[in-house]
Symmetry: C5
Subunit: 355 residues, 5 copies
């Protein structure tokens, strides 16, 4: 996960300029439905999408991938989207935000996805207009597959309700994709904790650090969504969202708060793991040092003693010149002295609870 | 205690879908009472429970255990509970929440229980409707046994008052189960502190870490309950809760805050214990190193000296070849030099307060 | 100071049940006064106290010690105190709180006392009713002795004003007992700091830890009093407290905030002391290790050299077998080599600023 | 980056006194435009600037550099700027602030710039008056070059709109200059992280510390800008800013919050890096100590053994005087003992997972 | 700087009692002025001061030093100051506070002063009444000397405006004395940082700790002043402060916030310095240990080898008794073995990047 993900223009550039770097690998899908019928078209062109606007059915246009300037400009003019918002859709790495106007609600969300390579963050842009919803999703994975299939069921609530319920369903789906990600993080935290306490692993420090880093970035991206959904729940919001749908949005708000509290808890947990790691390292150092000290303390003094009697002072120099060497009990006496030293040390260690 | 406890459906699923994993090991109890009479039925069926709805008495249905989809659906339709709320009842590991409607108050609480294996967290769901209270409690332990027995006393306040007072009693009981849990944590913190300061225990690091982890998870689960009870106390709440009962709820709110402040204090205490542990480890390392340094410093220099006079330079090579070996006071002189070295070291150590 | 001090009943118990553990060692005092006269009675009975209610004078009943159920129940019925409040009075270790009713203000405060054994926390309960104040204080020490003696002065403001001024004086006295406690903590922090920087004390770690622990518990007990006094200052409060007395309460509020800010500062200071302690321990370890390294580095290489020339390779084996031993300058040469080694080491240490 | 950057007068000095230290190296530019025409003059004098005030076109005066007292006083009197504000313009190192009056909005912003020597902070002062904008920018770099060139395009929105849109464009430009700075910090943090985990660099500690210091100072300077732009967005603000322009300012506010959240994240990241660094240092110490302990433990005991048989106890002293030396298998036996010792050690190390 | 600085009376004492410990070393100055004339009297008596009250001019009484009970009581009665406020003036070490009444504004401020011995905190008490300002300043240093001299200028704004402008000037001066103090702290922090990174200083730990302690105490004293000045800016404040003066007070408020943000930044900086210090200590320990390990590892094994060939096993005991000693290449072979050992070690160290 990158620390800095925002695409930005040169400071001073006119607002509303669309970044031209995007390659434009995109697929358009359009759903045109009411309680009775459903028209579904995949790999559509922009023209085909706009053809569905002016009827009384609900139209959902889903743009998957990395939209280029031409497509965006055409969709913007067909659906009447202001250029400031289209710039936001086009530049990836935005902070989640909401813009409310009389006849239009625009929101950018962050979709966390658990992939094999780790967690990836995609930008989701949603427009709600009367009878129309437009959704943009970066990357190749379509997070709304489940919603697509629910649309096929004629008796489902989704088909019977207005565009705001579809909008809610998309928002709720984006939020709920956080749960598998967080479940996975919980597993990683637990696994790291077990690794820490049971065994020795060279890379564990890197693992804890990258866990912490990822959770920090995730927190920053998810945090603004709480306020965003709260804005949708306010009473004085535009008529685009009906009170019936707000009941469901409140449920979605609860999920959002659950996710944030979990992220907060994980953040504290990873800090705790780092501290735990350092304690364990200190503890192991302590143990190693204790062994070294015991060995050195047991053997250094006797080694000094045997060194003494390895000196070559000449017997012929006089009676003070190492007479012990010529005593019949000298060797035995030296052994006794050394054993006494070692025994004293061992008692000292026992007393200090080192062995 | 698990880090991630929430049961969730696949993102995009229709709201209100009940998780079908539940085994449905449950017992139903129903209490139907007024000031004059009490009908009490345990191990009831769902039909028996609903039979008690349409009279003027107060009906309390208590569902203990893990309710299956069929029972939940039937209770929901009999008592008029919305499907979104029934989904919440069915999926364990929810964040405490409250939903207020004209004729219904729904709340999810977390019940902390001190068991022999440690602290367990159960989800309690409570519905308050006119003359009716429905309670769901996971697990096998019935936390409301004391309330049951109070119902038997005809003169008790519980029998004389309305359903809101029963509802308050259940909420209060759930909150108060936090006190024995926290008393136990205080004992564990104190015990760990004593262990830390008095003695050496290999597993103390794990103990501190799991204390911290448990308190962190507990805090996350209990924290939202404060806001929840505060909501019940608001003036503009539905008429289901009478001002008389609010006096008691305010007392319950005080208990809730006491518990949260204790958790906060314990959280800081466990952080302090971790720091204390690391200080003690550093201190012990210091002591070990001091012993090693003293031993090495006392014996390494004399060992070098005795090594010198163990060299075999031949007397025959000339007068500069180790003449000390042939001096009558050589051996004594070497001893004096070595004792001088050791004495100097001891003075140095005294000066630096190492011995 | 105990971590968990609250006395609580079994969860689910009826609210208002008085804990029966209390031994009931208590003394009752009653003061009945107006600007002109003062009746003072110590060691009174509950009946004597209630005899003073129904006149126009101001009545102050002070209960010192551990009140039993009988006395509490009688006082409650005589003075019209609700049973929920009497339960709070009876169970020690409560969080400071305030309850305001039409004709009654009830407040629980925490009195910190500096005793020889350390700081103790007592629970103070105060009732303000028209012309009546009732105060309960745990333990044996009467914190209101100074107020008693002020009552004797006929010209004093205390005698001329209403019951609310007496109530204020009691609250203010309880708050102000925090100052000697905090002054004492400041002294202990300063003493610990000096000990840390000047000298070596085995128990200093325990001292810092218990300072931190006590300040943490104190903070938790004092913190709610700020909000409590703020409630008394609100404009829309019952008429029991006159605007004139609020001027004095505002002064009391300032004292309360001063105390909280001091506690906050001490809390940060003790955290800083713990960090300082760990830095000093690390620093000392560093110094010890430097000495060890210097000694070992100076003597280990020359010891190796003298070992070489202590080998017994036979001169008779051939010309490559230790010819140095038979050179006339061999011994001198070895000394030069060793001195060179030691000199090189000393230069290395100088360069690295170790000596 | 300096910790203390504010220029201040002697305490007690009359407010509005302009610091006379400034050298007055400045260039004045003036732009006088409407939708149809543009007059642009660089290196103008103060008189030339004021000549453009009294027409209906929009006038933008840009002061680049370090304005002296004379120029400031003249501009102030010509454009009617209060002396308190001119003092703020003249003293560098101010906190970002906004002053709103009936006919004038004054704001001080901080411009972060990525230069080759590191990040520099410039003070930008902006005045918005009817049809007039005055901007002051310290240093030599003109951050508004892009805006200048946009002014040349006759069809551009900048030319068609009022002075408030120009004012917004300048504010937005200043805010957006934060993005390249933060992108650079992200790169530096990532580079430091890689350095930490892969390799050993002596200066890495200094690098982390200066990163943390810079981000801390940056945070302090940028933080007030959030509130400042929020003030511009308030409904009840003076008529100088039209609702149309507020739509753009809201976009600018989002950028400002993005930047602050990034700074906050980087702040936490650098704290995490410091902790990571200390963990790695501890880990390396541990590894070094393990090697030392293994070496010492393997060789110290056998060295003691060989020392024993280097003693010179005389065979002639008696049968207890080192009989091993004369046994035909003595030497081989000693080798076996020593190999046994070493083997035992190696098993011990294997068991403790040290090798 | 003392941790506990508040002078307090025995708990329970009547409010308004003036501490009698003060020695009463004070000087009184009185200024009586309007736009046309100025009467200035230093070393005045209390009577001389009160003589200036009842005219239409503005009267400023400045009390420098430690006022005794008599002077305070007289000033209080002459100028109509309530006794609660006079108690605050008399007891030093108060928390900054503000008291607003119909005809009187009272405020206590903390004046930080940079002296040669370090930073000292003085208590400033200010009274604003119609046409009258009274100021009390502890210590000997008069912080208002600059204001005094500005009063002498007849054309100055100070002479033309009302008492509220004088009051503002005094408040502003007290706040602004914070800047030199903070500039000095910035220098001390920078100096400590340089010392830390460049060199080794025994007392650096104490320096960092006392910096942190001082900044913590300063923060506590300055913090309440922000709220205090904010109170003066409120719209509904008494008429004593005119809207014209509020423009200046807003400037003063900005200064106050600048100072608090600087203190906050310094607080974080000193925490960072402590961490940096501990990292450097760890790093140095690491380096020392590496040297020790290299030395020991290089020499301990060869020392063991030379020990082997210093053993005295008798050649006569048999052919297995140290035959190497009698081989013509034995000595050379031992050297080769030892050089091989040392070379292997050096390769190992190179691989682990220790040398």
């Amino acid at each position: 996960m990158k620390l800095f993900r925002k695409q930005y223009n040169q400071p001073g550039t006119r607002p509303g300029v669309i970044n031209e770097n995007n390659k434009g690998e995109l697929t358009l899908s359009v759903f045109d439905y009411n309680a009775n019928q459903l028209v579904e078209r995949h790999d559509a062109t922009a023209e085909q999408c706009t053809a569905h606007i002016h009827n009384d059915n609900i139209t959902w246009v889903h743009v998957q991938g990395d939209p280029d300037k031409v497509t965006l400009t055409q969709l913007a003019s067909d659906f009447g989207i202001p250029e400031l918002l289209i710039e936001d859709v086009a530049s990836m790495g935005q902070r989640p935000k909401i813009e409310m106007q009389e006849e239009q609600i625009f929101t950018i969300l962050t979709l966390p996805l658990q992939t094999k390579e780790g967690v990836s963050l995609q930008q989701i842009s949603l427009f709600l207009m009367p009878n129309t919803v437009i959704s943009f999703c970066g990357g190749k994975f379509n997070p709304f597959a489940e919603v697509n299939s629910r649309l096929s069921a004629p008796a489902g609530r989704l088909r019977k309700r207005q565009a705001d319920y579809l909008f809610y369903s998309l928002v709720d789906t984006v939020i709920d994709w956080g749960f598998p990600v967080l479940e996975n993080y919980a597993d990683r935290i637990d696994a790291t904790e077990d690794l820490l306490l049971d065994n020795h692993d060279k890379n564990i420090l890197q693992k804890i650090h990258s866990l912490r880093r990822e959770i920090l970035i995730l927190k920053r991206q998810i945090w603004p969504q709480r306020e965003l959904i709260n804005t949708l729940l306010r009473d004085d919001i535009s008529d685009l969202i009906s009170p019936d749908t707000k009941v469901f949005l409140r449920d979605c708000y609860d999920h959002c708060i659950s996710i944030l509290e979990l992220i907060e808890t994980y953040h504290e947990m990873t800090n705790g793991l780092m501290e735990l790691y350092m304690s364990i390292v200190s503890l192991k150092l302590n143990e190693v040092m204790r062994v070294l000290t015991i060995i050195a303390t047991l053997f250094i003094p006797p080694t000094f003693v045997v060194g003494i009697y390895g000196m070559n002072f000449s017997q012929s120099a006089g009676p003070l010149s190492m007479p012990e060497l010529y005593s019949p009990y000298g060797y035995v006496g030296v052994w006794l002295i050394m054993l006494g030293m070692i025994g004293g040390m061992l008692l000292f260690f026992k007393k200090h609870k080192w062995i």
